[in-house]
Amino acid sequence: MRAGAGARPAGWYNCAPMQDRHLHALEQESIHLIREAHAQLNPLAMLWSLGKDSNTLLWLARKAFNGRVPFPLILLDTGNEFDEVYAFRDRYVREWNLDHIAAVCPPAEDTDATLPPAARAAARKTLGLKRLLAERPFAGILLGIRRDEQPIRGKERGMSPRDADGRWHFDAQPTELWGQYSAIAPEGGHVRVHPLLKWTELDIWRYVEAENIPVPELYFARNGKRFRSLGEKDITFPVDSNAANIAEIIAELTTTRQSERAGRAMDHEREDAFERLRATGYM
């Protein structure tokens, strides 16, 4: 586990104070949405996948409520997370006194057989969430997806309704403007809340650095490899990199021509694989 290293490299992204103002504006917009979700969607929970994004989201939630998180955190557990990720969770649940739900995901055999293999592994999480919601019908679920990760996620709203089957009707999304959201879902459904939509991968790392937010060690290069995006260990692969600290990651991201999710197998099997996953309830 590692926190921000301090020294900032030179580069276009570091032209303060404009960059600081930019991060500050993102942070404040996200906190507003988290508070709005808490005010309008009851009961509320947050998905905590333990990656850099959901750790940033957790940090923002603590800021929103003066250090205390007034809702439970859910890990959709396939049993296939990296050991380092489980250790990270156990440490911060204890240290930060978090209300935590480990939701066990059904096996791959239970998923849609027409999906490609890695997508089926990912679809276990969709089923895990569905099963949890059947037991504990949360009205709102906070999650740390970002628009720049994947074009389909780029189409999300700050508050996006899901129907009782967890389905996303992307062709009929509610209007959002001026910090106003439509916090309603169809009968039996729930609202997905996305406070990090506008953040980029680079924003996240610069914020993690500035705020000293703990993240798992797997992001930092060992023997010329690091994980750029964390998923289950059977369908997530490291990328070539020598970036061993946050400053080096930031420097690497300003020059890379690879997409962030290059190491996530389920994105690359078929043109519409991710669209199908998301339309049926994937995160």
Binding site: M18, H22, E29, G67, I152, T175, L177, Q180, S182, L197
Partner: protein, 617 residues
């Protein structure tokens, strides 16, 4: 926030293509993207389709349309910015609103062959209400008009005229061919006549988005989003829409209308020393007032108006038309209020952009309306605290419209003229009302004439006074100029002074009625709330509200004092019926039509009505 640009324009004019090509030419596409585009295009049997860069859904690629908003981060040699691509389909206008509301500039794409079409005009009207200051226009598909300078000039002139009609101005108008990348990043050699630079040059020249800095300079507005209990502390939480806040600031709580003080600003991991517009606050206050979501903490020196009625520029995104009388939930920040559409002043016509009179706002329409709330609410106007003047309309939990409020024409209804002395004991008269009525031969009453300037209120009032006097009645008329020269000599014509003028007239008329007289008042008294306050002042005395109902055209033709002419010429501001509203009574005791009738006939009708209601029983 980094500069955000929103794409706008008619469907098929090439927005997504322009954006895809721009990303390619700025060298921002990841490795393999162009190859995958070629594959996706080939699979559909079409040439390389740049719009597929951003059309993420399979259905978007299959139908070659953009279904929903797309956001991308872009950087040129000079700056970093964000672009939002919203679809141009008419029935998906709500997506454009969602996309454009967070932008501070717009990149409007217009097809050089087609020119300014209906959707382009609709988008321009919307941009005006959203308050987006900068508009860059790409006149696209110049290759299809042979890079004709004459054609470009014609489209440019048409655009300028359309924008001028809305009070908008283009920051830059650039001829491009998006498919070829012409004049996006690189200047295009086939058009040597063009020396105005590229689209990226125009974007590089835009000012940074300083909306939050501007809002921070305004008066404090902290809408209460929630109240958190933490130990013994009560944290009042919300995002500042305007102004700044520090510990020890005096703040006014609305609508409770109570003053208090900020004791501390709280925060984690550190408590801030000061906060400004855009920041999320958690404050403690000195007094144990009841505070709930939807309340407002604001600057006591310049609070919003409390009013039940205000005007608004709005866009309507709901299904079907928005009719007069329709009730909806209106949200200023977290505050929800039931409102009714009281009047529609004009609707911006799609094709001409002229403001035309309508009795309903069509789907995706933009209009100027008057809204009426069930209870007084804090209302800001664009010029005092712009972000706080914004609202959305909600129906069944879904956002179905939005707009900007304008309460400048209405008085502040905040209760602040409570009697200054509190140790008042009313004295009972020994002479009873019935005794007075028996002696006079009629009841004491207030006959309140209301109507537009030139409707005939003074003429009718004076004539009625003569008729009743000749019957031997105790009668007196209060008229505008007479009262203003004495009792109300200290009052001007601001909304607040007008309200006070009417309040005093109402109180004096009530005293006359109490004395047993029939007191006739002849004032425009355009606001329903002012008239109901006058009725309340009359208490148990008879109060007859007479609507002297003469249409505006007739009043304007009569123009006995020359006021309409001066108002139309812009020499008089806030003139009722011209640039200030008149609210007709909902339930007048008598509606007296005067147009096309002889004065005597009207006086007969009025006299008969008053005599019938006031005669002693």
């Amino acid at each position: 926030m980094a500069l955000t640009l929103c794409m706008a324009g008619h469907v098929d004019h090439g927005k997504s293509t322009l954006l895809g090509r721009l990303l390619n030419d700025l060298d921002l596409l990841p490795d393999g993207k162009v190859a995958s585009l070629e594959a996706a295009s080939a699979a559909r049997g079409v040439p390389l389709e740049w719009s597929f860069v951003l059309d993420a859904f399979q259905v978007e690629r299959d139908q070659a349309i953009t279904l929903d908003i797309t956001h991308v981060r872009v950087r040129s040699q000079k700056r970093e910015f964000a672009i939002v691509d919203a679809p141009g389909h008419r029935d998906l206008m709500r997506n454009l609103v969602t996309g454009a509301a967070e932008a501070s500039a717009v990149l409007l794409v217009v097809d050089a062959q087609a020119g300014v079409e209906m959707q382009t005009r609709g988008h321009l009207a919307l941009l005006r209400v959203l308050g987006i200051p900068e508009v860059i226009v790409a006149v696209n598909k110049m290759d299809l008009v042979g890079w004709s300078e004459a054609r470009f000039d014609a489209v440019r002139d048409e655009l300028r005229a359309a924008m001028h009609a809305l009070g908008l101005k283009a920051t830059a108008i650039v001829p491009v061919a998006a498919r070829d990348g012409a004049n996006l990043v690189q200047p295009w050699p086939d058009a040597p006549w063009w020396r105005g630079g590229t689209i990226v040059d125009a974007i590089d020249a835009l000012a940074e988005d300083d909306a939050l800095e501007a809002a921070a300079r305004g008066p404090l507005r902290l809408p209460v989003q929630n109240v958190y209990r933490q130990g013994t502390q009560r944290l009042v939480a919300g995002q500042l829409t305007a102004g700044r806040i520090r510990a020890h600031d005096e703040v006014l709580l609305l609508p409770a209308n109570r003053l208090t003080r900020v004791t501390s600003l709280e925060g984690w991991p550190d408590a801030p020393s000061a906060l400004a517009a855009g920041d999320n606050a958690a404050v403690t206050i000195a007094d144990p007032f009841v505070i709930r979501r939807g309340d407002l903490l604001c600057d006591p020196a310049s609070p919003p108006k409390m009013t039940t009625v205000f005007d608004a520029d709005l866009f309507w995104l709901g299904r079907g038309e928005l009719d007069i009388g329709r009730r909806l939930v209106l949200r200023f920040g977290p505050r929800e209020t039931m409102v009714r559409v009281a009047a529609i002043h004009h609707v911006l016509d799609d094709t001409t952009l002229a403001a035309v009179g309508r009795d309903a706002v069509p789907e995706s329409g933009v209009a100027r309306v008057t809204l009426r709330a069930d209870v007084p609410v804090p209302v800001d106007s664009a010029e005092t605290a712009a972000p706080a003047a914004r609202f959305v309309l909600v129906d069944g939990g879904l956002i179905v419209g939005g707009g900007v409020a304008d309460a400048t024409q209405y008085p502040d209804q905040r209760a602040r003229r409570a009697p200054a002395a509190s140790n008042l004991v009313a004295v009972d008269h020994d002479v009873r009302a019935a005794e007075r009525a028996r002696r006079a031969g009629h009841q004491g009453a207030v006959v309140w004439l209301t109507g537009l300037s030139g409707a005939g209120k003074s003429t009718l009032g004076i004539a009625l006074e003569r008729r009743l006097f000749d019957l031997g009645w105790f009668v007196y008329t209060l008229d505008g100029d007479n009262v203003r020269s004495g009792l109300n000599g200290d009052l001007g014509f601001s909304p607040d002074d007008r309200q006070e003028n009417i309040r005093r007239v109402g109180e004096v008329a009530a005293l006359f009625a109490d004395a047993g007289a029939v007191c006739i008042t002849a004032f425009i008294s355009p606001y329903r709330d002012d008239r109901s306050r006058a009725r309340a002042s009359a208490g148990k005395r008879l109060f007859l509200e007479i609507h002297v109902d003469t249409d505006l055209a007739t009043c304007e033709a009569r123009d006995p004092k020359g006021f309409y002419r001066r108002a139309r010429a812009g020499e008089m501001k806030d003139f009722t019926g011209v640039d200030s509203p008149y609210e007709a009574p909902d339930a007048a005791d008598l509606v007296l039509k005067t147009a096309g009738r002889a004065i005597d006939e009207c006086v007969d009708e009025l006299t008969a009505f008053v005599v019938g209601r006031c005669s002693a029983t």
